[in-house]
């Protein structure tokens, strides 16, 4: 990747973990605890859907956040952040015009170019904030609709208000060959969609197991069950991709924190083909 610091001699390379001062161009409130930060990208830094950046808030700390927007050549890079830990609880409160530190992009990408070559159907399965690293896939598949087959998006969340990006759903659905289905754990009185779990949607979604690429991101429990459901429906494991989460500190494979047996999730992942990680998913405390 041209955006990566690279110097085979090492000694002369610039600090690979030095953040770039980056202005926040816009803050979009997505839900009670989630915002999207649109960060300046006037330099036109590119990324591949599925990759993440490290965001640093002055005096607070740093956290890995997947890139949730596009298009690739856009003037801003969107990062959807949910208040969940010490850093993100403050990061969701930054204001337009603030400067934060950014380094990246890091990590592996969803295999959408390969899918385009074979003109596969795309099955996106997202749980909660797990939709964020998949939104660039959706954008890509909408923009280049002719290069892909169907685009099926199954999105589960806790409550209707947690279905982030809902303001865009009608626009997504307007493209030909796009199906978007949502489900929530707990409904509210004005919710007209299904109440249940993500595998309920999967059970009633028709897809061609010979011709579909599945991309899954959500809580680890959800991914374990979705994976069994997909395999049970005849989808070959090598066409199922998952985005895994581990503690990312350095993001360049040096600090050791994100290890998952043989893998450094920061550089070998976060996106993995199921066969690479299948046995590891069932093992506790790896």
């Amino acid at each position: 990747m041209e955006t990566r610091a690279s110097d085979p001699n090492g000694a002369a390379s610039p600090a690979p973990t030095l953040p770039r001062a980056t202005p926040v161009r816009r803050v979009i409130r997505e839900s009670a605890d989630t915002v999207t930060l649109e960060l300046d990208n006037s330099v036109g830094r590119s990324f591949a859907p599925g990759q993440f950046n490290m965001l640093y808030l002055f005096g607070v700390g740093e956290v890995a956040v997947s890139i949730s927007g596009g298009p690739v050549e856009s003037q801003v890079l969107a990062h959807t952040v949910r208040a969940a830990g010490a850093v993100t609880r403050l990061l969701v409160n930054v204001k337009r015009g603030a400067t934060i530190g950014v380094r990246g992009p890091y990590g592996s990408a969803w295999p959408i170019e390969g899918a385009a070559r074979e003109r596969l159907d795309l099955l996106v399965v997202a749980g909660g904030i797990g939709i964020a690293p998949l939104r660039p896939v959706i954008y890509h598949a909408l923009r280049e609709r002719h290069r892909f087959g169907r685009l099926i998006v199954l999105f589960g969340a806790r409550r209707p208000d947690d279905l982030i990006y809902a303001r865009e759903f009608n626009r997504w659905r307007a493209y030909p060959g796009v199906e978007l289905r949502t489900i929530v754990d707990h409904g509210s009185s004005n919710w007209r969609g299904p109440v249940g779990i993500i595998t309920d949607l999967l059970a009633t979604t028709d897809f061609d197991h010979d011709d579909t690429l599945a991309m899954v991101c959500g809580p680890e429990v959800m991914m374990r069950f979705v994976r069994h459901a997909l395999v049970g429906r005849g989808l070959p494991p090598e066409r199922i991709y998952l985005s895994l989460e581990r503690n990312m500190k350095c993001a360049i494979g040096h600090c050791g924190h994100c290890q998952l047996l043989p893998f450094f999730v920061c550089k070998d992942g976060p996106i993995f083909a199921l066969p690479k990680v299948a046995p590891l998913l069932d093992m506790r405390e790896l």
Binding site: A11, F58, K267
Partner: protein, 381 residues
């Protein structure tokens, strides 16, 4: 002289040799006795070396003892490894400055261009340095601080003439004979009649240094004596580790009950990771000054034995000691091979000696081999 050439130098002339090295602009770092252990610190002459001392090591036990002679390198390895000089315990990576308008600027801390001469590097330790090179001077990203210190190194290696009670470099094929990666390699030859160093030049600058000290040509007998001493060391290994199929063995035994057993003894104190010459894990700390105007990021050694190490918002991925010990051992002996093409263990034995409860990874690996789940047919799941 040329690389590959050899000479005999009197032990008494070692200070001359060290002096020649420091004249080239190197700071000398070597073994010296301090607080009842042989540790690596800055030294100034051969006077600082632990003449006449040896170490007696067993699981959970280390003590110094007097030798009958005045050998300078007549011991194995202590609690220190050279990693503290290359992959330092704490490194400032960058500074950030907050301006009045809320703008933030970042500036990298430039690597310190320190030139170190490491005196008395054992074969296992050379392998350990090469192992950390693969991690920190990577194909895509290099640690500039490590790389700078690594590039400025002068290595005086020593062939081991004694093995410690917890040594197993022969099993790991990392010693005791020094083979590559040195400027000078010494073998100490000592008996009633003589105290000499058989020295081999491993680089041009090593050869140049050697040329400047009083010496005599090494004959075949001297070489034979040096090789015999190292061969004897190989016979004295305190431990052994069967490495055949070890990676596959550990991968197939992630649910072996031995991990539960070792967890009842392991204190998760992280000593093993601190003394290990290859353990490379770090964490970062962000500090802010009191005026909240200036922040800095410091990288510090970390250990996979802490609960914070695998922390996610939902909690620690490895909350049990069992899972953390398993992570450490399987990383060291198995997944390291997937990641970097070699074992992460060089057989130095430090983790065994410095474990406060004497957990011995060679014994743990052997215990898993004895109870290999793959051979336990009919065992209830």
């Amino acid at each position: 002289m040329l690389p590959g050439e050899t000479a005999i130098v009197a032990a008494a002339a070692l200070s001359d040799l060290l002096h020649e090295i420091s004249r080239l602009g190197y700071t000398l770092v070597g073994p010296t006795v301090r607080d009842g252990a042989i540790v690596y610190r800055e030294i100034h002459s051969a006077e600082d070396l632990p003449a006449g001392w040896t170490d007696v090591q067993q699981p959970g036990s280390y003590r110094l003892a007097r030798r009958a002679d005045s050998a300078l390198f007549g011991f194995a390895v202590g609690p220190h490894s050279w990693k503290q000089f290359l992959h330092q315990p704490a490194v400032t990576l960058w500074h950030a400055q907050l301006a009045d308008q809320g703008a933030v600027t970042f500036a990298a801390e430039p690597p310190e261009r320190k030139r170190l001469a490491l005196i008395g590097v054992r074969s296992c330790e050379l392998y350990a340095i090469a192992t950390q090179d693969k991690v920190l001077i990577g194909a895509t990203y290099s640690d500039p601080h490590y790389a700078a210190r690594r590039a400025g190194l002068f290595v005086v290696a020593v062939n081991c003439t004694v093995a410690g009670g917890t040594c197993f470099c022969v099993s790991m094929k990392t010693g005791p004979k020094v083979e590559t990666g040195y400027d000078l390699a010494l073998t100490e030859l000592i008996d009633d009649a003589r105290h000499e160093l058989f020295i081999e030049a491993g680089s041009e600058r090593g050869a140049e240094v050697l040329e400047r000290v009083p010496r005599r040509p090494a004959d075949g007998r001297a070489r034979e004596a040096a090789e015999k001493a190292v061969r004897a060391t190989a016979e004295m290994m305190g431990r052994q580790l069967e490495t055949e199929g070890l990676r596959e063995l550990l991968y197939a035994n992630l649910e072996n009950s031995r991990w539960d057993e070792v967890a009842t003894r392991c204190l998760a104190c992280a000593n093993c990771t601190m003394v290990c010459p290859t353990c490379f894990c770090t964490t970062i700390e962000d500090h802010t000054d009191l005026g909240a105007r200036r922040a800095e990021r410091v990288q510090r050694w970390d250990s996979c034995f802490t609960t914070d190490f695998s922390h996610l918002n939902a909690g620690s991925v490895r909350s049990s000691i069992k899972s953390r010990y398993r992570q450490w051992l399987t990383h060291k002996l198995a997944s390291w091979i997937d990641q970097f093409g070699t074992s992460g263990c060089v057989g130095c034995g430090r983790c065994i000696t410095w474990c406060p409860v004497g957990i011995d990874l060679t014994e743990e690996a052997a215990a898993i081999r004895r109870t290999d789940l793959r051979s336990q047919t009919g065992r209830e799941a």
